[in-house]
Amino acid sequence: MMQPISDFPLWAAIAVAVFLLLGAILTLIGTIGFLRLPSFYERLHAPTLGTSWGVGGTMVASMIFFTVGTERYVIHEILIGVFVTVTTPITFMLLARAALHRDRAEGDQQVPHKMDLGGTRDAD
């Protein structure tokens, strides 16, 4: 099964460490930006750091680790990557539309108005 981690070749250990730390640090920067940016629409951009490079880096690190450790190809982590890449835009788009809807309903001047006033609402 799994070989002990002291038997890992050095290049594999360094590659796993680099991808893991890069993903983790970019996720942390994204979350810090999420805390610090002033308005909601700016904050919307920050977590995508975690969902793009954060997920990607961690997946690649896990793939290298298990492929070297079990000496056969382990690539099922790519499923998480595909799943997150496909679902994140859906949640963010829905949330952005909900936020626009709420801001417009409250008459916020910062938010652009709908182009066709008095038109029918767009289909969902």
């Binding site: 799994m2 002990p4 981690i5 002291s6 890992f8 070749p9 050095l10 594999a12 250990a13 360094i14 796993v16 460490a17 893991l20 730390l21 993903g23 983790a24 640090i25 996720t27 942390l28 994204g30 979350t31 810090i32 999420f34 805390l35 909601f40 904050r43 919307l44 977590p47 975690g50 969902t51 954060g54 997920v55 961690t58 997946m59 690190a61 896990s62 680790f65 298990f66 450790g69 382990v74 099922h76 982590e77 499923l79 998480i80 799943f83 997150v84 679902t87 859906i90 949640t91 963010f92 829905l94 949330l95 539309r97 909900a98 936020a99 809807h101 709420r102």
Partner: protein, 93 residues
Amino acid sequence: MSAIILLTAVSLAQLIFALAMVIASVRMLRGPRAQDRIIALDTLYINAMLLLVTFGIGTGRTAYFEAALVIGMLGFVATVAMAKFLMRGEVIE
């Protein structure tokens, strides 16, 4: 040598993900509006998922991968339901 590198990297990454989760919870508690809290919850899900994958690397077990996949799916459905609720005031119509 490689054991030291791997153990250090995995522990550091776990610390960083935990810190990111704490920061996301701060934003979730602070708000100021419902949409901020929902995105904070979504970030929390993603970070928890990545933390589980890191646990998998640390212990060498593949079982953590399935747990991470389940967290990702449930998080997605939960966030979509809450966004829908914000827009319409009800989840199922």
